[in-house]
Amino acid sequence: MLVFIARRLAISSLTLLAATFIMFFLVALSGDPLADLRESSLPDAPRLMEARIAAMHLDEPIPVRYFSWLTGIFQGDLGVNKAGTTVSSLLGGAMESTLKLVVVATVLAAVIGIAIGIVSALRQYSSFDHGITFAAFVCFSLPVFWVATMLKQYVAIEFNDWLRDPYIPLPIILIIALCAGLIWASVYNGDRKGKLTAFGIGLVVTAVILFALSASRWFADPGLGFPFVLVVGLATAAGVAALVAGVEHLQPMYAALGAAGVGALLYYPLQPMLIAPSVLTLLGLFVVAGLVSAAIGWQFGGLLRRQAIPLAVFSGLFVAAMIFIDRLLEAWDGYARALKGRPVATIGSETPNFLGNFWQTTLDSGMHLLLPTLALILVGLASHSRYSRASMLEVMNQDYVRTARAKGLPERTVVIKHAFRNGMIPITTILALDFAGVFGGAVITETVFGWRGMGKMFEVGLREVDPMPVMGFFLVTGTSIVVWNMLADIAYAYLDPRIRLS
């Protein structure tokens, strides 16, 4: 194992080294770094030009420049950009900003995409499957910059306008409810009558909720409230337990309900702690929630502890997250007022000079993340759903799935235990590549939304034919690709016992 990692690292480092050489050459040849000064009419342009030639060693041949850059790297010196700022100082801020932007989007796109892919594989050739397939193809074909610009216009600018008077017109309610009903009906797996019922329930519930939200002007001052947390928490716990563990043996269900119930009952007692919490307090609370839920699962689980504990932990954390969101939404009113009623942000990673309490600044970050995250999810979702669908379909046709059914296992155990685990093996590679691309994958999104991250650094560096920042950027992305590929191999070996690392 260790030998494998060491060997892989050695090979990958050489690969990376060769790649930096190619990159350096290409960037150095991509244009004229003196272009702006040549066209400049400044009186001291020739002097500036000479200064830059000296600073960037333009008088030396490219390989020499490359090797001096390389020696610098081994001494921990990433060089300076045209303006003289060190690349390492640029990188620090850029990486933080990009990570914030991309990690959430990548994780969400993967989780949602895989979930959708699995459902559509299990409902192969259903209208849901066809709909998702079509939607995935559309998403595949969307230029991200076009989507991003549209989101800015319709989700930010026009949504902000609408928030002034958040009233949903009746026809819109009906159209949304109709769509919701159709989605429910297409996911439901059963006879015509069941589908009609699912359609009806989906339609009516959505319409009523939207109508209530509209009538109470909920969007102007959103919040969840204790009754919502309790009811939705219990319902989710029951639903997930029924889906994962079934209703034949109820211990897992009791464990999940117990954890959700305890969590919801702590809604009021927790409020004083949540007035001005630190990040550490919040993390601590989440950990405590998880532990308590696990204990509840252990207590109620009986013979089915293996199912009950994860279910209880999920339910407990779900309720905890709802309480967090509830508290966050409470800060909405003040936040929206501070921004003169235009809370959905279109540019940057935070409102400049905005001062608020913990909740308001968190909300501020969240609102700035909203649009770029949506854009990235929309584009990333498609490939994940396609890959996991294909992988699941492949696995569902395997002989061992048939064996599992022949044993008399319920279909959900067949899917969760036998199909899912095998289906995820090829997905890990794709996930790893996705995470590898985290640093470099958001060049366009960052440009459109004006984030000062890695992508911006690369773009500006390339535009100005400034090799140092571009190489700094590449060093980070290249390393992350190498590392993640290795992680993928290790995960592969962990998931598939047939593969031994050697």
């Binding site: 290409l26 991509s30 002989d399 470099g440 440009t447």
Partner: protein, 330 residues
């Protein structure tokens, strides 16, 4: 169903005229592929859509010396009529619309009065040619490298695959931006060839994999045993069997090619003015979203239409070439 019965059902010859049901109707691979392709509804719609876009783009403003039927040039400015609003109307009068007609400027005009229909068509021409070039060049390079690596193994394979590993370490958009920025000034077509020369990695891996498995097959062994030359084995025996994989990946390379070109042009590292492309149009007019949203909508819709139709064609081809996909109807 066991593997065996399933196989029988799937490879069962289609209903024959022979009353005895004994003779197997022979269908060539090509016939089977064509039949499965045209059964794929998405692929058919994709074909038609792509054909229409292609025809529209190249017939309207003409291409090169060939004149088109649209009278306004994509370069000339003019007087702005009605704030440059599109005059295209598709709602017939009996439905309360303004009737179906193109009008003076169907896609509207920009702020200096250029006809946006002509501009979009020029953008579509450039984007389509660039995408096709990227797709073809990268597939050709990838196929040759993959075939060499997979067939000859040994040192050739080691060198090619190490080089592929190096190229894969660089994100496509990053190296494409660098290449685009270096070659964008030399015209869109030269840039497209250069982009094709850096995006062959996935095809190489795919073709190498196919070759590796096919070279061990009995029919290749047989050909080798009777002393067939390597070149003949590659071109006569192995390549035809990898054709499906290559064609499908070429299609997908074309659809990602158009997204790559438009993204590069949007960032300013692709097609450069005075020529134009769909990505460049969106980039140029992205700030007009509020005042003249149509300047933003038309090129975007054309990108989506082209990429979507090519993707559907690719999906249809994949189904057509992969007999495992011959599905049981519900």
């Amino acid at each position: 169903m066991t593997e065996k019965t399933e196989m029988t059902i799937k490879t069962e010859p289609p209903a024959s005229n022979d009353a005895q049901g004994m003779t197997i109707v022979a269908r060539t691979q090509g016939q089977l592929v064509r039949r499965r392709f045209f059964r794929h509804r998405g692929a058919l719609v994709g074909m038609i859509l792509f054909g229409l876009v292609f025809l529209l783009a190249f017939s309207s403003i003409g291409f090169g010396p060939i004149p088109g039927w649209w009278d306004k040039p994509w370069t000339g400015s003019g007087t702005v009529v009605d704030r440059g609003r599109p005059t295209l109307s598709v709602i017939p009068e009996f439905l309360g619309g303004a009737g179906m007609h193109l009008g003076e400027h169907p896609f509207g005009q920009d702020n200096i009065g250029k006809d946006y229909f002509a501009m979009t068509m020029r953008g579509a021409q450039v984007s389509i040619i660039v995408a096709l070039t990227i797709g073809l060049v990268s597939t050709a390079v990838g196929t040759v490298l993959g075939a060499l690596a997979g067939f000859f193994r040994g040192k050739i394979e080691a060198v090619i695959m190490r080089f592929t590993d190096v190229m894969i370490t660089i994100p496509v958009l990053v190296i494409a931006a660098v290449v685009g920025s270096a070659t964008g000034n030399l015209g869109p077509y030269f840039m497209a060839i250069m982009l094709g020369l850096i995006t062959w990695t996935s095809v190489t891996r795919l073709v190498r994999g196919e070759f590796l498995s096919l070279r061990e097959k009995e029919f290749v062994e047989a050909a080798r045993a009777v002393g067939t030359s390597s070149m003949r084995i590659i071109f006569k025996h192995i390549l035809p069997n990898t054709l499906g994989v290559i064609i499908v990946s070429a299609t997908l390379a074309i659809s990602s090619g158009i997204l790559l070109e438009t993204a590069l042009s949007f960032l300013g590292f692709g097609v450069k003015s005075p020529d134009t492309s769909l990505g460049l149009l969106i980039s140029d007019y992205k700030n007009a979203m509020v005042t003249r949203p149509w300047l933003f909508w038309w090129p975007g819709l054309f990108i989506v239409a082209i990429a979507l139709s090519v993707n559907f064609i690719g999906d249809g081809l994949r189904d057509a070439f992969d007999p495992r996909q011959n599905r049981v109807r519900d």
